[in-house]
Symmetry: C2
Subunit: 253 residues, 2 copies
DNA sequence: AGAAAATATTTTCAAATGAAAAAGAAAAGA
DNA sequence: TCTTTTCTTTTTCATTTGAAAATATTTTCT
C-alpha cells in the first residue's frame, strides 16, 4: 500500500468527507493522482466516492472500521496468517484484523477452511479463489452481521480445530473484554471447540476497557498486535504465559 | 415504480451497459431525468452507475437477478406478504421474490421473525427497522450466499413454523425443480419443520425445467406467480389441490 | 554507474455530472 | 371551470470526471 494512500485514508477518516480538490492540495499531488487513489481505495472498500468528494466508508461500528489504521491491521493479519498452513481448518470470529486474516487465507492459501459466525467475513471473502466458509447459525445481529445465541453451540459442536482467531474491544488486568454480551458468549462457545484462542487486535484496545468480560488471561494462547501496546499490559500477559507478537508500525521508506 | 423505470431497467438488463445519452434518446426524456432515475435505481440496488453509463447490477446468478422483471417480482412478493400477519415467525429460502418478500415484511410489519439460510437476504434487509433474522448455519455457497449441508438440519430442528416460502428454478408434470442439489436438500429439510410450503416465482420458471427434483406437487400448499403461467401447468397444480395465485402483469396507466 | 524497463504522476481535453432555477403537467380544491 | 398546490421534467451552468498522451521518477539489470 502506498504511503499516500495511508495519509489519504487518515484524512478522510478524520474529516468524514473531503473535497478532491482539498486532498490534492494537502497531499501536494494532482487531482488526477488523487482520483486514481480514490478509485483504488473505493475498490478495496476503504472509502466511498461522491461527486467531487471522498467520504468515509460508512460503517456499522465506526470504531472498528477497516479503513482506520488499515495498514497496521493488515500487517497484524499477515503476521497471524503465517501461522496457518495450507489445508488447515480454523475458526474466526469477527473483527477488522480477523477480516483481513480471512482475506489473506482465502486469497493466497490453498484449501484453508474457515469456520465463522460472521456473515460479514463470509461475504467479504466470497469472491476469493480459495474461499471455503462454514457459517455458524444463530440470531443475526443487524449491525455487526454476526450470529449469536444458543444455535452457535449446536453448530460448532460438530467441529474441533487447532486455532480460533478473535478480536477484542478492551483489556484490563483480569483479562480480555468485549462490548457485547451475546457475542462474548458466542466466542466462548467457539473457544470450547478450539485448542488455542488467539487474539488479533490493534494496540489501542489495550488502553480501552470493554463492557463485558470475554476471556481470563489464562484462556488465551497468543496475541498479535502492534508495538503501541503499553508495557504493563504486555508484562501482565507475559506473566501468564500468553505469547505476545508485536508488529512494528514504523512507516517504511 | 414509474413506468419509465421499468423500461430503463429492461434496456440496461438487455444491453448490460448503456450510455446515459442513449437512454435519454431512446426513452425520449432529458439526460437529467435519466440521471435522477439512475440515482433512484442504483439506490435500490437494481443497477450500477459508471461515468457516462448505466450498467447492470452484477449478479451471481444472472437469470435470477432482482432487476429482471422487478415489478412483477415485487407484486408477487406483496401478494404473498399479505398472508403473513404481525408477530408471525416464518421461514424463507432464497430467490428474488423471496428477497422482496423479506424486505416487505421487515419494512412494513411488526415483530415478524424470519428464519432463513440465505445470508444474502439477511444482509439485504438488515437496515430495515423490523429486521429480525435467524440465520441457519451450514456450508456457505460463495455464489448464492446460501447455507447448505447437514448443519441446516441441526439448526432448523429447533423450530416449527406455519409457512416456508421458497423459489424454484423449474417445473415439470412431476413437480417443482431446482438447479442445485445441495440447496434442494436444504429446502426439503426446512420444509420438514414447516406446516405449509409456499412457492413464490415468476411464471417463466413454469416453462423451464430444473436439474434436480425439489418437491412433488403434493408437498406444496400454494403458489404465487404471475398470469403468464401456462394453462396446463396451472391445471396440473389445481388437480393436486395446490392453490395457484396469479398476479396480473398488466402495466398500470 | 549507466541504460533499459517498469511505475508513477501530470498535462490536456472533451464529455459527464449535480445543483438550482425555470417551465410544464397532473392532481386537488373551490 | 378556474385556481392553487404539488410533482415531474427541462434548461442552464460551473464543476468534476476519466481517458490518453506526455513527462518524470523509481527500479532493475548489466
Amino acid at each position: 500500500m502506498h504511503i499516500r494512500h495511508t495519509k489519504l485514508l487518515n484524512i478522510v477518516n478524520n474529516k468524514k468527507r473531503v473535497a478532491v480538490t482539498d486532498l490534492a492540495q494537502v497531499l501536494d499531488v494532482s487531482e488526477v493522482t488523487i482520483r486514481k487513489d480514490l478509485s483504488t481505495l473505493e475498490h478495496m472498500g476503504l472509502l466511498r466516492r461522491e461527486h467531487g468528494y471522498a467520504a468515509m466508508a460508512q460503517s456499522d461500528d465506526i470504531a472498528n472500521h477497516l479503513s482506520f489504521n488499515y495498514e497496521i491491521k493488515h500487517k497484524i493479519a499477515m503476521r497471524a496468517a503465517a501461522t496457518v498452513h495450507n489445508g488447515e481448518t480454523i475458526m474466526i470470529e469477527s473483527g477488522s484484523c480477523c477480516t483481513l486474516l480471512a482475506e489473506e487465507l482465502t486469497m493466497n492459501r490453498r484449501d484453508v477452511t474457515i469456520i465463522t459466525n460472521s456473515a460479514f467475513i463470509a461475504a467479504f471473502v466470497r469472491k476469493a479463489p480459495g474461499a471455503h466458509i462454514i457459517l455458524l447459525g444463530g440470531e443475526y445481529q443487524n449491525e455487526s452481521q454476526v450470529m449469536v445465541g444458543p444455535m452457535i453451540k449446536k453448530c460448532v459442536s460438530d467441529f474441533y480445530v487447532d486455532k480460533l482467531f478473535v478480536g477484542i474491544d478492551g483489556f484490563n488486568q483480569n483479562g480480555f473484554m468485549s462490548n457485547n454480551l451475546m457475542r462474548a458468549e458466542a466466542i466462548r462457545t467457539m473457544a470450547e471447540n478450539a485448542k488455542h484462542a488467539i487474539i488479533l487486535t490493534e494496540s489501542v484496545k489495550f488502553t480501552q476497557t470493554g463492557v463485558v468480560s470475554l476471556f481470563p488471561l489464562s484462556a488465551v494462547d497468543s496475541v498479535f498486535t502492534d508495538d503501541g501496546i503499553p508495557a504493563d499490559a504486555a508484562q501482565i500477559m507475559h506473566s501468564k504465559d500468553t505469547h505476545v507478537y508485536t508488529i512494528s508500525t514504523a512507516e517504511e521508506k
